[in-house]
């Protein structure tokens, strides 16, 4: 069962702050423990920053999930930026085309239960992550 809760713009660094707060609020509501909450918010923060810095801005969609007695939270980060040319390279620890640490994508993937990346050069990038209680 899914239930679209909300869509937030990611167009400025203030939007990242707001997005993080919303993720935290919904993670608590879903009943995540503190470690799971912290991991998920951190992953969201990394992906939101990529959406802004590399995707030229975009949107974050929240979905609340229920599977049996488990609750989950799905976040979809979407932009219509340049896309990722070499996914394998981008998914390597320490690889950055900017001035970051190159840990956002790989780190986010490690921090969540489910990670899904779609990208097309010239079209944009869409990354969804899911965390379960």
């Amino acid at each position: 069962m899914t239930n679209v809760a909300l869509v937030l713009p990611i167009q400025s660094s203030e939007d990242i702050v707001i997005a993080r707060q919303k993720v935290r609020e919904l993670a608590i509501k879903a009943g995540f423990n503190v470690v799971n909450q912290t991991k998920f918010i951190t992953a969201a923060s990394e992906l939101a920053r990529n959406t802004l810095d590399y995707g030229g801005g975009g949107y974050l969609t929240f979905e609340e999930l229920i599977n049996g007695n488990k609750k989950g939270l799905k976040l979809v980060f979407e932009d219509q930026g340049p896309g990722i040319d070499n996914i394998q390279l981008a998914m390597t620890d320490g690889y950055t085309t900017g001035k970051g640490l190159g840990l956002g994508l790989t780190g986010a993937k490690r921090l969540v239960n489910e990670f899904d990346l779609w990208t097309e050069v010239g079209k944009g990038t869409r990354i969804s992550i899911i965390q379960w209680t």
Binding site: E46, L101, L103
Partner: protein
């Protein structure tokens, strides 16, 4: 508010990061700290992050930058008050805060500095 206050404690500087920082605040902090380390000839910078619910690679990079700047100006950096969940998350994220000491709280941080600066 666009600036994080820097407190002078004897030979040390203390910053308590409280706000959910956006980029400009983080950049201002680096500038302000550089100026004040030089101005007061500070021996160490204590960064209290006990109020931070998360540390992502952006904040991690900022802390590393501050440690790097401090080192050039001959001051040490001690990060105090990192929450256990944040520490666990940083390991999984793959972020190592090279050249940064950590302590449970400000008091323990000052203990570390007392010992380190005696040499």
């Amino acid at each position: 508010m666009d600036r994080i206050p820097i407190l002078k404690m004897g030979e040390h500087l203390l910053v308590t990061i409280q706000v959910d920082m956006h980029d400009q605040i983080a950049l201002n902090l680096q500038d302000d700290l550089t100026n004040q380390i030089a101005k007061y000839k500070a021996k160490a910078v204590l960064i209290d992050i006990s109020a931070l619910e998360i540390v992502d690679s952006f904040i991690g990079r900022m802390i590393s930058n501050i440690a790097g700047l401090s080192r050039i100006l001959d001051a040490q950096t001690v990060v105090v008050g990192m929450r256990p969940a944040v520490a666990i998350t940083l390991v999984e994220l793959g972020l190592t805060l090279d050249g940064v000491r950590t302590a449970l709280n400000v008091e323990k941080g000052l203990d570390i500095l007392r010992t380190a600066l005696k040499r």
